[in-house]
Symmetry: C2
Subunit: 206 residues, 2 copies
DNA sequence: CTTTTGATAGTAACCGGAAACTACCCTATG
DNA sequence: CATAGGGTAGTTTCCGGTTACTATCAAAAG
C-alpha cells in the first residue's frame, strides 16, 4: 500500500477519470452515501481540497460517475444484442450481459437505490430516468420483433413484459444485495430467466 | 399544521408508538437517511432531546420501525392468502395485497434500499433477511401446492419462481420509485402479474 | 541548451452548519 | 410530593466547500 509517495501531479483529464474510478470503487465497499470527498482524496493519495479543483461539487462527481456507467453499460448491451441470432436469443444475451456487468460493479445497484439519487439530486434522477426508459424501450423492441417473427406469444403485452424483465433484473440485484453472502447473483439469474422465457414464448415453441 | 400547541406529556408507550409512526411518515417524504431526530421531534411538537428519553439510539428507532412494518405486513398477507380459493388465487391476492401495502407506505421500499440497512446496522439487516427468506418460503409453498394440484406446470422450479415473484415486486417498486410521477405502482402491477402467471400456469389451463 | 515565466495541480488550514447524543434542570400529573 | 416525561443548552464530530499559498511542468525566450 505504500507505493505512492511520488504519485502526484496528474493531468486534469486523468485526474477526473481517476476520481470517477475511485468513487465507484469506494461506493461498492462503503455505500454511496458514506463516500466522503476525504475518502476519495485519501484513496488517490491526495488532499481533500484537490478533489474540488476537478469538480465544482460532490454532486457533479456522482453525475460523472453515472454517465460513465451509462456509457459502459450501453456499449456492453449493444454488443450483446448484436450477437443474437434472433430476438429472443438477443434478449437472453442482453440479460446475462446486464447481470454480469452489475455483478462486476456492485456500486451500480447502490447508486440506483441511494437516497442521493432519489431525493437530493434531481439531475441525477433525470439521467437515471432516461437510462431506464431507454433501456425499457430497447427490451420492448426486442420483444415486439420476437412477436412478429412468431417467437413470442401473439397476445403478449410487450410493454408490460419489458417492465417485468427490468423488474426481474432489479429485483434479483436487490435480493442478492440484501442476502449478500447467501445468494449469488449470476446463479440466481440463471435459474430465473428460463421461467421468464416461459411467460413470453409462443405456445407452439415449447 | 399548527394544531397542537398543547400536545404534550404522553405516556412512554404511546410516545414510542408515535415516534415510530412519525419516523415512517418522514422517511416516506424525505428519504430514510435524511430523517434526523430533530425532524422527528419537530413532527411531534417536542424537543429533540426528548426523543432519546424513549430510545437509546437512532438505530433502535429504525429497528422498531422495521418490526412494526413486519408485523403489519405479515398480518395483511396472511389474511390475503387465507381468502384464496386455491393456491394460485391465494398467490394473486397476496401479490396485490403486498403491492397495496407498499403503495400505502412509500417508506418501506426506501427502508429496504437504504444504505443504513445495507452497511451500517447489522441488526437491521438480519431482521430484513429473515423477513425476506420467510416471505420467499411462503410463496414457494403456495407454488408447490399449485403444482401438486395441477394448477402450475409440473416441471416448475418453484424456488426460482418464488425468486422471480419477489423480484417482480421489488423491481416494480424500484422502477415506480425512480419514475415517480410517470408510473403508478398499482397499474404497473396489474399489467405485469398476468405475464408472470403465464410462466407458471399449467399448459392445459390456458 | 539553458533560463524564465505562466498556467495549474496540489496543499494546509479553515469555515459554517448539521447531526447524534448528553448533563442537568424543570414541571405536570397521579 | 414523588417521579417520570420533557425542556435547555450544550459538546463533539464530521463533512462539503473555500481560500491563500506552493510546487511542478511545459513552452517561449534568450
Amino acid at each position: 500500500m505504500s507505493s505512492e509517495p511520488v504519485r502526484k501531479r496528474l493531468g486534469a483529464n486523468e485526474r477526473r477519470e481517476e476520481i470517477v474510478r475511485v468513487t465507484l470503487d469506494l461506493a461498492a465497499r462503503q455505500g454511496v452515501d458514506d463516500v466522503t470527498t476525504q475518502d476519495m482524496a485519501q484513496a488517490m493519495g491526495v488532499t481533500q481540497g484537490a478533489v474540488f479543483r476537478h469538480f465544482p461539487s460532490k454532486d457533479a462527481i456522482w453525475l460523472a460517475v453515472m454517465q460513465w456507467v451509462r456509457d459502459r453499460l450501453m456499449a456492453v448491451l449493444g454488443r450483446a444484442a448484436a450477437e443474437g441470432r434472433d430476438p429472443l436469443d438477443a434478449l437472453q444475451r442482453v440479460f446475462f450481459a446486464h447481470i454480469d456487468f452489475i455483478a462486476g460493479k456492485p456500486a451500480i445497484p447502490r447508486l440506483l437505490m441511494s437516497e442521493h439519487l432519489h431525493a437530493r439530486s434531481p439531475l441525477l434522477r433525470k439521467l437515471v430516468t432516461e437510462i431506464l426508459l431507454g433501456f425499457e424501450a430497447k427490451i420492448a423492441g426486442l420483444l415486439e420483433d420476437a412477436r412478429k417473427q412468431g417467437l413470442a406469444r401473439g397476445d403478449l403485452d410487450t410493454q408490460a413484459a419489458a417492465t417485468l424483465y427490468l423488474g426481474m433484473v432489479q429485483g434479483l440485484v436487490l435480493q442478492t444485495s440484501i442476502l449478500r453472502g447467501q445468494r449469488e447473483l449470476r446463479s440466481e439469474a440463471a435459474r430465473t430467466f428460463p421461467i421468464f422465457l416461459q411467460a413470453i414464448r409462443a405456445p407452439s415453441d415449447r
